[in-house]
Amino acid sequence: MTAATAIETQASPVITARDLDLTFQTNDGPVHALKGVDLDINEGDFVSFIGPSGCGKTTFLRVIAALETPTGGEITVNGMSPDEARRKRAYGYVFQAAGLYPWRTIEKNIKLPLEIMGFDRAEQARRVEKVLELVDLAGFGKKFPWQLSGGMQQRASIARALAFDADILLMDEPFGALDEIVRDHLNEQLLKLWARTNKTIGFVTHSIPEAVYLSTKIVVMSPRPGRITDVIDSPLPTERPLDIRDTPEFLEVAHRVREGLRAGHAYDD
């Protein structure tokens, strides 16, 4: 990103949460998945949510996507309610598993949202070609999901989320099930993709290096009740080769994330 676009993106928060609460009623009594969450996500941000399981990071992402309804507080996406934003195709969602439909080829899987949203055939084909190229899967369109490796499948699912040109990309531990080597590679590719498309990305992870490597903003969360303990604006440059992870700046941010987790008693039993 150039300096000019960086300034431009400072201005407008795309996602705003104010005092957000979400309580699940279960048989064992209420569970406070989110409590008093305040957060602004600006246009073009790459925001990671990190914390131990049960800290509400996935729940928060699902609230943004209108897959869960908060029980208190306010949240807006592009100035609208999450429900309206979803109908306006504000975001693409990438799940932990690739979730490609096995009876559709990669190409047809990417066309799925386009068919549902009523794009015409020529436009569908054009977009499929574009996003396949974007995730480096050109030529794999005719393959069935099981013919691809796990990493390639996850890239295809990212392509599917990009196909209808949403400004926001929500990713729920998308690389959690992959081995570390594949993960490094995909992280690097994701950063390139982000630089090319200038999307706003919400990224849930439980890996500290992954969060620090990818993000412009790291949201540290802790459980019982799920809340934000720290928000760290990354001082790292936008250009990030993999070996940036050995620099003192990187280690310093990682240290701060760890401190934030400790402050939230994330390491307690």
Binding site: Y91, F95, W103, I116
Partner: protein
Amino acid sequence: MRNILPILTIVAAILGIWLAAVAPMNFRLALDAATRAGEDVMPATPDEQGETGLVRLMLDNPSVLPAAYNFERPRLPQPQWVLVEIYENTVGLARRCEWQGWSDENDNWTGLSDGCLRVVAHNRSLLFHAWQTMAPTLLGFAIGTGLGILLAVGIVHNRAMDLGVMPWAIASQTIPILAIAPMVIVVLNAVGVQGLLPKSLISSYLSFFPVVVGMVKGLRSPGAMDLDLMRTYSASNSQIFWKLRLPASLPYLFASLKVGIAAALVGTIVAELPTGARFGLGARLLTGSYYGQTVQIWAALLMAAVCAAVLVWIITAVEKRLLTKMGLAR
């Protein structure tokens, strides 16, 4: 082709067991006949024979064994007799079979002489009877499958149907079909419905159930994530059905169809039994049992087995083609 050996092994084993069972099954009948013919048997009177165990009788009267094997109206015939019976009631029915060619005088579209057509048209022909059973089976299977799929779609999409229909579907299968088949035929006959349909309705009654069960399971098979994905696209219920639930259910559907088509065949045969049907494999079973013609019964049973095998094979072939095309077969 590589599964031909195991199949042949099983067939050989069945034939072996069958052949071994012929003598003990028919021994008492043969002994009875030998006693009446004044042969020297041990023990000498039918009453004493009745009180003696089968093994004892066989050991004491080895001379009767060949007669037991070749008994004329046996309880259990030799397997090759059944094959002969099938041959005689199919290909063996042809008389003066010749190619006549197509011409205006010949109103028969096959171009074969009427003598040839006896193979499928004669009222003793097993192929004729098999078709009399197959036609209502296919119609009943179509009705049952259609009904089953519709019910399953309703059950998955409507909570009232989910709670209301399933218990009735299960209850319907606990009613002995043999008991209600004559009533169905009589009632339908009274309102003027005859021919194929009454038998088909009974066969659809048996075949809809596996389709409902399998299809409900299949339509519900997509996981929470698959459904969430659809929600993020704001997909409508009908889009979710056509693009997710239906394709996901197909492997389940085919498993059910295989059970359903076999049940449909059984349903048709059962429908023929208590209703005095004149044609069909069930009718052959019935007349066979009236006249003590076990060979005829076995021939009809074997024919029914062949029909079932063919039907299941057709479904398997369609399944394989479709699922391969969908990338679901590996």
